[in-house]
Amino acid sequence: MNRAIKSRLSTSEMNYFPDEVIEHIFDFIASHRDRNSISLVNKSWHKIERYSRHQVFIGNCYAISPERLIRRFPCLRSLTLKGKPHFADFNLVPHEWGGFLHPWIDALAKGRVGLEELRLKRMVVSDESLELLSRSFVSFKSLVLVSCDGFTTDGLASVAANCRHLRELDLQENEIDDHRGQWLNCFPDTCTTLVSLNFACLKGETNLAALERLVARSPNLKSLKVNRAVPLEALTRLMSCAPQLVDLGVGCYENEPEPESFAKLMAAIKKCTLLRSLSGFSEVAPVCLTAFYPICENLTSLNLSYAAELQGNHLIEFVQFCKRVQRLWILDSIGDKGLEIVASSCKELQELRVFPSDPHDEEDNNTAVTEVGLVAISAGCPKLHSILYFCKQMTNEALITVARNCPNFIRFRLCILEPNKPDPITSQSLDEGFGAIVQACKGLRRLSVSGLLTDKVFLYIGMYAEQLEMLSIAFAGDTDKGMLYVLNGCKKLRKLEIRDSPFGNAALLADVGKYETMRSLWMSSCEVTLGGCKRLARNAPWLNVEIINENESGRMERNEEDEREKVDRLYLYRTVVGTRRDAPPCVTIL
């Protein structure tokens, strides 16, 4: 909160202000946490805050019910909802687990909420929900769906057809059943308000004529991300009628274009002087990439992480000219040498993600990155604060060096591809390396650890990671002590997710109250037993303790329950609305 505002908020003075003035002051307070704090000051503030709150963020859709949300915030305009736990991204959560959007839309519609924006992550969305949404909220402007599933292009057609003031339709990495229909045609001719359109994840064909007409009549369009099915010539035409684009996602261009097509593409690209962000490229012939040279110096964000066939040298050639890039997502085909070049060219780099081009090492790929690349980046990029790095190996020395070079990390996610891999030079665990990271990076909020790790690394994390909010653990630790160090030490911990680690009931049950301060805990393939989980559920009625069974089709047989049976997957979260009623048979809520 702004200091000036803070100093004004001493309640004795504020009580003499009329509500409208207080409300006006509250307008300057945007952060959810700050607004939550204000609402706790006194009844009057609670009331004013309630009615002036337009944006609500719900990190776990089962923590509260839509009815209660609407009762408290009747003037809601923008809602963010998250559904499935994070590990659902990696197929660890059954498809039918939950996170259904429909009850929310239903309640919002019945409550006559003037919804304008909806942001969803890992929710199950149906065509019916999208249709209901499109008909219920006249001022609806913005729909952002990330990692959702359950709907088809028919649902998109409803949104296109009925949302008269639609500004944003952003579909990121969703599983959408593409009926190859005419959803793009469903945008009425009167729709000219689009600012952002992203359908990159659609797998089917695209009606190019409809798309071109739509883009041509959208003068405010700043962000356009098309899918694979938009060929080069069409892209050229699109860019020509939208030179104001700031953010562009392109399709798939494996084949080398004809010289004339290429020349036209280059000409169109040159005109897009406002372009700052480039993505897509589910495949790209190297020469196509060169067409973007004229604008690469302007790019602040570049995502080439889907171009699996693009060879390292071409990737490097391009990236080294992107001198202003702040956000870079690439594949490990860039290699350590490539990262050294990035380190010397991209001094503005803030966020780097290096994904594995060959996740299962099927091709015995030797160009994957190692600790060398990471050290180079840490040394060359002073503004780096977020990293996601998939690598073949890591050493303690490298991590210690990285920690020294970059004490400003907010997010540090390291994934060594082979579980339990020790430091290849010393054969020791990586406790000291990660310890150095948490000790140096005082502002660290998110951490993912990997490689060979003992309880000691968790001792370090508990001791030093004071700002840590999210921790991901896999194949790590020796005893319950490890988990206890974390639960006792990390005061700001909100999300803890653990897989394949030997933590059991003792750790789970040591401090039940801790879970009230956290959003959720995930434990899979650990040592917790059914008995332990039951005890937890008894002692903490404000938690939903969910057991997800291995046998997805059957409910746990009551008479066959053995309290000593290890639980395959445990997911618990605080909630004010008790047990949910939409759980499938494979989920048992204790």
Binding site: F87, S282, P359, H360, L417, P424, T426, S427, D478, S501
Partner: protein
């Protein structure tokens, strides 16, 4: 070169049985799961003084792949690729990359899939790459399975046009067969919805389902066709 590493190479020989409980425990002995299955007899983790550590790792990964046939714990296979959800890459991303890599090698390899027909005593196999369209596949399958269908309808219809969805759906409640396939995600889909090349890419096996069994497969499509077929009968 590898012999000079000082590893007892006999220990790295292929074994056909389970390695039993005599694996030297790693530094982190109580760990379950992956490390137990990985470590076997190679003692890598418990020899910190060994500077050869990095070289022996190459031996490990080579042996690692060979050993995938003899897991210590049968429920936790050794091969890296089989650890569920690891590495933690979003399935969306894995699918996108997977399809790209496949398309580059699709020219070389054949695409044999099993074809089963409900009620037939044995399965067949077809190479989807031999056909250029759904029609060609339909003809081939009709030929293959004609002997089974002749008997049921007294040979009146002869070769059944499997891929003509409307015709098939017209008699959906009778004995006629509905072509379905299992895709890469393990879902059973109705044949004919996606472009032919995409079908070849994603089809893992084919099943000619009895009409009555196919009701659950694509309910909306079935309803649509049922109602149209009813109309046609008027």
């Amino acid at each position: 070169m590898m012999g000079s590493v000082g590893l007892n190479l006999r220990e790295t020989e292929l074994c056909l049985g389970l390695t039993g409980g005599d694996t030297a425990s790693p530094v982190t002995g109580t760990k379950r799961g992956f490390s137990e299955t990985v470590d076997l007899k190679l003692n890598l983790n418990s020899e910190p003084e060994s500077k050869e550590g990095s070289k022996s790792h190459d031996v490990v990964s080579a042996v690692f792949k060979e050993k995938s046939s003899c897991p210590k714990d049968p429920t936790k296979p050794l091969a890296k690729a089989q650890v569920v959800g690891w590495p933690p890459v979003r399935s969306y991303r894995k699918n996108v990359m997977g399809s790209c890599q496949k398309s580059s090698s699709s020219a070389e390899t054949a695409a044999f899939v099993k074809v089963s027909m409900d009620g037939a005593p044995y399965l067949r196999k077809v190479d989807l790459k031999m056909y250029k369209s759904y029609d060609e596949l339909s003809d081939a399958l009709s030929n293959m399975f004609s002997s089974f269908t002749m008997g049921n309808n007294g040979g009146e219809e002869g070769m059944i046009d499997f891929m003509n969805e409307r015709k098939v759906m017209d008699t959906v409640s009778s004995w006629d067969y509905v072509p379905s396939y299992e895709d890469k995600d393990g879902d059973w889909m109705l044949v004919g919805d996606v472009p032919w090349p995409m079908f070849v890419d994603t089809c893992k096996r084919l099943r000619l389902m009895k009409g009555s069994d196919a009701i659950g497969l694509a309910p909306r499509a079935m309803e649509k066709c049922k109602s149209t077929s009813l109309k046609l009968k008027d």
